[in-house]
Amino acid sequence: MISEKKPGKISRYGMSVDIDKCTGCGACMIACAVENNVPPAQEGATDLTGLTWMRVFKVDNGQEYPAKQSVYFPMMCQHCGLETPCYLVCPQQAVDVDPATGIVGQIPGRCLGCRYCMAACPYHARYFNWWDPKWPAGMEKTLNPNVAPRMRGVVEKCNFCHGRWHAAVQRAAEAGLKEIQPGDYVPACVEACPAGAIQFGDLNDPSSAPSKAAKDPQSFRLLVKLGTEPKVYYHSRREWARRIGDPSQAPDGKETSHG
C-alpha cells in the first residue's frame, strides 16, 4: 500500500524518560486520557481491563526499609522500529507504521478486535475496549476533535498523540510550510509532566533530547535484546533501576547487545 516515492522528510520520533525525575504524580496519564478521548473506567473495570495508553508503574529494588528504594516507570507504546511485533501479526493491516514519522499507529475502523497484537506486544502497551465507551452526561463536550473516539471491541494504544502531529502539519501548512518545526509537535504527556521527566523529539535529529539520551551510558531501553528497536529511552543514575528495566545491562550501563 505504501507508494514507491518516499516522504520528503523521514523522522524517527522517540522519547526519553528520566525516571529519576518522575514523582509518579499521574499527570501524564490524565493528560493522555484527556488528549486522546479515552473514556473513564466502566463499572467493574480493573487495572487489567482498563484503558491506560500511558501507565506509571511503581518499582522498588526488592529490599526492605531502610535499604528500600523505589522508582516510577512511565510506560507507553515503545514504538518498535524493527520487526514491530504488533504490525507483523495484525491479520488485516489495522496496525500501521508510518515511514514518515516512525510512529506505530492503530486504525480503530479497520481493527476486528482479534487481540493477536496484544499477545504479541512484549510491553503490554495495547489495550482492548471491553466496554462501550461512556462519558458522564455533558462531558462529551470536552472531547478532542483531533482524535476519533473508539468503539467497543477494538484495540487502542499510544500513538505519540498523532492528532497533535496532524494539527502541527496543518498549522505549518497555514504558514505555507511543508514540514513542521521541532517544537510544534509535542505529545500530551510530555507537555503535562510537571517534573520535565519526559522529553520528545526526532531520533534522526542529533540535537533532539532523545538522540542525546540514546548516547548516554546511563540510558537504557526496555527488553532491548528482543531486537525490536524500541524508540523510548529510559535514564537512571541508579544501576538497580537500569537492571530492572533491562536485565541485559552491564554494570557500566552500556547495553551488552542490541539483539
Binding site: 507508494s3 514507491e4 514518515a100 486504525i107 492528532g163
Partner: protein
C-alpha cells in the same frame, strides 16, 4: 432434464438481478432536501463572490465549513430578490434567528483527518477538484444518506451518482461531482506519490 425444468431457475436469477441492480440502489439511501433553496451561481456571478468569502479556513488552520446564519444575515437583512426562496429564507431563518440545518454532502467520517489548509495552501488544489463546479449548481440537490452506515452518498456510495443541476439546465441534465470516497483520495495521493501510511489521513 428438459428445458422447462430450468425455466423457474432462470426466472429466479432474472428476478434477483433486477431487484439487485435497479431496486436496491434506490432503497439503500434515504434522501432529504436542503433547508434553503440556495443558488451558488447567483452569489458567484451576480454578487461576484468567491468560494472563500463564505467557506474560509480559519487562522488556526481549521476549516469553517458552511457559514453560520449570522454571515448570511450580513447581507440578507431584508429581501434582496423577488424569489420565493429568498422570501422563505428571510421569514424562516433570518427573522427567527434559526440556524438552517444544512446537510453537508462532503462530511467525512469521524475517523478521517482532512485538512483543507494543506490541500489549498500546499497542494494548491482548486475547490472544484473535489467539490465539482458548485459555482454553477443552481439548486442544492437533495442530501442522500446511506440507511445502514449513515454516511453521505458523496463519501460512501455509487460513483458518478452525485449530481447537481446546472444553471438553466433541464430537469434531467446534470453535471457530475467527483467522488470523495477513500479510493478517490488514494487515487490522487498515489499519483502524487504522497501515499505513505493510513495515519496520513486517519485519526
Amino acid at each position: 432434464m428438459n428445458f422447462s425444468g430450468k425455466v423457474p431457475i432462470l426466472l429466479g436469477v432474472l428476478a434477483s438481478l433486477c431487484a439487485g441492480w435497479i431496486g436496491f440502489p434506490r432503497v439503500i439511501y434515504k434522501s432529504r432536501p436542503q433547508p434553503v433553496e440556495f443558488s451558488h451561481p447567483i452569489h458567484a456571478r451576480k454578487a461576484g463572490m468567491l468560494c472563500v468569502d463564505c467557506h474560509a479556513p480559519r487562522e488556526d488552520g481549521t476549516y469553517a465549513g458552511v457559514p453560520p446564519l449570522s454571515q448570511c444575515a450580513g447581507c440578507h437583512t431584508a429581501n434582496l430578490g423577488p424569489t420565493a426562496a429568498e422570501k422563505n429564507f428571510i421569514a424562516e431563518y433570518v427573522k427567527t434567528r434559526r440556524e438552517p440545518q444544512w446537510a453537508v454532502y462532503a462530511r467525512q467520517p469521524e475517523s478521517v483527518w482532512f485538512s483543507h489548509t494543506s490541500h489549498i495552501r500546499i497542494a494548491k488544489l482548486p475547490c472544484e477538484r473535489c467539490h465539482g463546479d458548485q459555482a454553477s449548481s443552481d439548486q442544492p440537490r437533495p442530501y442522500q444518506e446511506d440507511r445502514i452506515s449513515g454516511y453521505s452518498r458523496d463519501i460512501w456510495g455509487y460513483k458518478g451518482a452525485n449530481h447537481s443541476r446546472r444553471v438553466g439546465a433541464s430537469k434531467d441534465e446534470f453535471m457530475v461531482v467527483p467522488g470523495m470516497k477513500m479510493d478517490d483520495c488514494i487515487d490522487c495521493h498515489r499519483q502524487e506519490g504522497l501515499e505513505h501510511s493510513c495515519l496520513d489521513c486517519h485519526k
